[in-house]
């Protein structure tokens, strides 16, 4: 019948029994994706991006940390958001390294080209980022001509015997 009434009856009866109550704590020290008890869907989607944006927006960040974070993105097979791209470019501006931002944008372009061959997601991301790019003065790879290969250099690690 009414399940909530049935459960309430059971609880009232169990009150008298010596059952240890399980207390659910909220570990606020840990970030969202390490909290016990699981996450809601919104928290899952926003957890990683919030961590990265908070790290990238800190004023003490170094070129060392930026490249470490970029390598984490690459190794973890993550695709950067618009928020993360904007934070990364602003951090590059603080560190005075132009090539690093271009490399990051090339990397995001490559990842988007894997998931979407027609590059619709990449174009949408570029439109979201455009105000930040104009503010800082950075170019996307298409404007520099790096969406196509420019130089044809020999691969150092290939096992090509006859080249």
């Amino acid at each position: 019948m009414a399940l909530n009434i049935m459960f309430r009856a059971v609880l009232h009866r169990c009150r008298s029994l010596p059952i240890a109550a399980v207390q659910r704590k909220h570990y606020s020290i840990l970030p969202a994706n390490m909290q016990p008890g699981g996450l809601s869907r919104e928290e899952e989607e926003n957890a990683t991006s919030k961590l990265f944006t908070d790290a990238l927006n800190s004023p003490e960040i170094d070129g060392w940390d930026l490249r470490g974070i970029g390598n984490d993105f690459a190794g973890g097979e993550l695709i950067p958001d618009a928020d993360i791209c904007i934070a990364y470019i602003n951090a590059c501006r603080r560190v005075n390294d132009y090539a690093l931002g271009v490399r990051f944008l090339e990397f995001t372009r490559h990842r988007h080209s894997i998931i979407d061959k027609k590059m619709n997601s990449w174009k949408a991301l570029v439109e979201e980022i455009k105000p930040a790019l104009e503010e800082v003065g950075m170019d996307i790879p298409e404007e520099l001509g790096y969406d196509k290969p420019e130089l044809a250099l020999k691969d150092v690690e290939s096992n090509d015997y006859y080249a």
Binding site: W64, R67, R103, V136, K148
Partner: protein
């Protein structure tokens, strides 16, 4: 006694050091006095910890995080800047799909690029496209697109195989057309009486696996109609 090498294991805290100490002949030592040649090795834990701190100073957290390693790594990377952790913490220039940000810049600082690096600290809108490209090539050897383009080795393989196949096919057809007619033993086989005898031999072998031979009837001894 003859001079030989003495191996003395020295335990220093968490580390064990094996030192080879040459013993001179004719020299008498009392107890712990051992003549050490070369580096002065610390023996107590305090001395060892001091020696370790001197030789491995902690990296400063701010700019120039690894400036103290530039001298040590000059033979490995030269005058280049150490810029990131890279692959497992080694100072190497590696381009890979999982590590697009290498630990070291590609080029050493040369005089023509020093004013460009100063300009980079200012507004990036003042940079022209050629200057931006030179800054990129200063830090990186190849763009990601150049890195991921295949070299075309599969095409070269296909070309090689097809070339070989075509050569053999041409050779066989030329031999069939122009060289076999000159062979007298083979010319005998093109004559009708020889071919008739050979066909009789083949039929006598009785090697047809089909239960009903479509051409020669073995029960009646004649060709089928």
């Amino acid at each position: 006694m003859a001079s030989g090498l003495l191996r003395v294991p020295v335990i220093l805290g968490r580390r064990t050091l094996v030192t080879s100490v040459p013993r001179l002949s004719g020299v008498t030592t009392t107890g712990d006095e051992v003549p050490v040649v070369g580096i002065q090795v610390p023996v107590t834990e305090e001395e060892n910890s001091k020696w370790l701190l001197e030789n491995n100073p902690p990296a400063p957290a701010k700019k120039g995080r690894n400036a103290h390693l530039r001298e040590k790594l000059y033979t490995v990377i030269g005058n280049r800047d150490i810029v990131g952790p890279g692959v497992s913490g080694f100072a190497e220039y590696i381009e890979a799909e999982e590590f697009p940000f290498p630990a070291v810049r590609f080029m050493e600082p040369y005089p023509e690029i020093m004013p460009l690096l100063e300009k980079e600290k200012g507004d990036w809108k003042n940079l022209s496209i050629d200057e931006k490209k030179t800054l990129y090539r200063y830090s990186y050897r190849q763009t990601l697109k150049e890195e991921y383009t295949p070299e075309g080795l599969g095409k070269r393989l296909l070309i090689g195989t097809l070339f070989g196949l075509s050569c053999t096919m041409i050779y066989t057809q030329i031999t069939i057309d122009y060289i076999f007619p000159w062979d007298p033993r083979a010319a005998r086989t093109r004559q009708a009486d020889w071919q008739g005898v050979h066909l009789g031999k083949l039929i006598a072998q009785n090697t047809s696996y089909t239960p009903g031979d479509p051409y020669w009837d073995y029960d009646k001894g004649e060709w089928r109609k």
